[in-house]
Symmetry: C2
Subunit: 252 residues, 2 copies
């Protein structure tokens, strides 16, 4: 059976304006790969109601899992949660256990209307625990709604992960070589790719801060024996070009 598939929707004007460097995609991509869930697409979209609804509905039909980040705070630009309710055609309503939990957390008078919005969820949603700042994420159907603040998103994913059905973990082996250039190894590398059709063979040039360049060659897949066989072929390729193969990724 092929591994389950996933997409990520990053919701937030601050990414599209360049104010904020997203770091959630790389975190989720690595974690999902390790669980055998194949990340197939990422979208970054603005805080616009129709765009959020349409994107969620398109992607939840195409992928086994959809993860969203951003837009679940207390302010007017946090509209992800009601949009998810609308995408699923269910009411957006107070979630009583969450209301009680948050009420107990805040000092008298501080659990105001804005904060109560964060305890308002699509009907049928299952809260995702937030050990950092209380207000939960949630799952509904195959859509998992998380915060945009990286520390909170990571804690939510840790809480959610045990409930996700994974597949075969995707592993990778990497060899690199200093001074080697991509243009001199393209043909033999393609032959290695053809020899291992179930692996994903990639070539990534790197450049040191001092300007020295090289290439990292990587094989990715779920079959340990094929990965080791490909690693040996990559090692031999680098040697045959007169360079020294070095195991692992180049140091930054």
């Amino acid at each position: 059976m092929p591994n389950p598939t996933a997409s990520i929707i990053v919701i937030g004007n601050e990414i599209l304006s360049g104010r904020t460097q997203d770091v959630n995609v790389q975190f989720l991509a690595s974690r999902l790969g390790g669980m055998g869930i194949s990340l197939r697409e990422v979208r970054v979209i603005p805080d616009i109601r129709a765009t959020i609804i349409d994107t969620v509905n398109e992607l939840r039909a195409r992928f086994d899992h959809v993860f969203t980040t951003g837009g679940i705070g207390p302010t007017h630009d946090d509209i992800t949660s009601p949009c998810i309710a609308e995408a699923f055609g269910v009411p957006w309503e107070p979630h009583e256990p969450t209301m009680r939990m948050m009420q107990a957390h805040y000092a008298p008078g501080e659990f105001n209307a804005a904060r109560q919005r964060m305890a308002t969820l699509p009907r049928g949603a299952r809260p995702i625990e937030n050990p950092v700042s209380m207000a939960p994420g949630f799952s509904i159907g195959n859509v998992h709604v998380m915060a945009g603040v990286p520390r909170i998103m990571r804690a939510m994913f840790d809480a959610l992960a045990p409930e996700l059905e994974g597949g075969l973990p995707v592993k990778s082996v990497t060899m690199h070589a200093e001074r080697l250039l991509e243009g001199s190894l393209a043909d033999p590398l393609e032959r290695i790719q053809m020899e291992f059709p179930d692996l994903d063979i990639g070539s990534y040039p790197f450049e040191r801060p001092d300007g020295r360049r090289g290439v990292a060659l990587l094989a990715k897949g779920t079959d340990d024996d094929a990965l080791e066989a490909a690693r040996l072929r990559i090692e031999a390729l680098i040697g045959s070009l007169g360079h020294t193969p070095i195991a692992g990724e180049p140091a930054p």
Copy 2:
């Protein structure tokens, strides 16, 4: 007239696997905003022929500009260029001026088949100069195809930018406050948003490495007078909540 719109397509398995942290989106987002080109959507997609073609054709119909990064190197997994040709329904063929330029650059025998692929472009494409490593990007129609390696992508964008028709530069003003929490300012902030419907008012919590928290409040738009008026209202809001308004983004 509204500002021109744009989308970015990040093409590369290495982003979806978590191997590589994308930094091109933030660079392009900032530069485009400063030129008055409104970035509306980003997609990250794998090196799969049909996905690249479909995504390019969908987005070039929806936005004034489409920028792609990644997949224009010499190796087998670099398939962006022929896919763009297919998306436009034109032949993918040697671009003679680029062939001659690259031939002259390499030592005899080194301008091999793999490197000649980088001088092969969709018919009608206009090369984008690459002062870093020679092999050009290109524009065809409203699609601008650039490298994935950040230093090369930036150089290509610098070469391309003077040809792009911009709009009114999007500017932003930011005030922040230590210890202020989003939940206590949501309602008055929404009133400021309603007062300035042409601005985009956002609220972004931050956390220091030592755990101290606060909120940055931001107004974004093209009208200097409205921005200054909104800034004053935000400053007054922070003061009214008993906190000290500080100009600019919080230090990291």
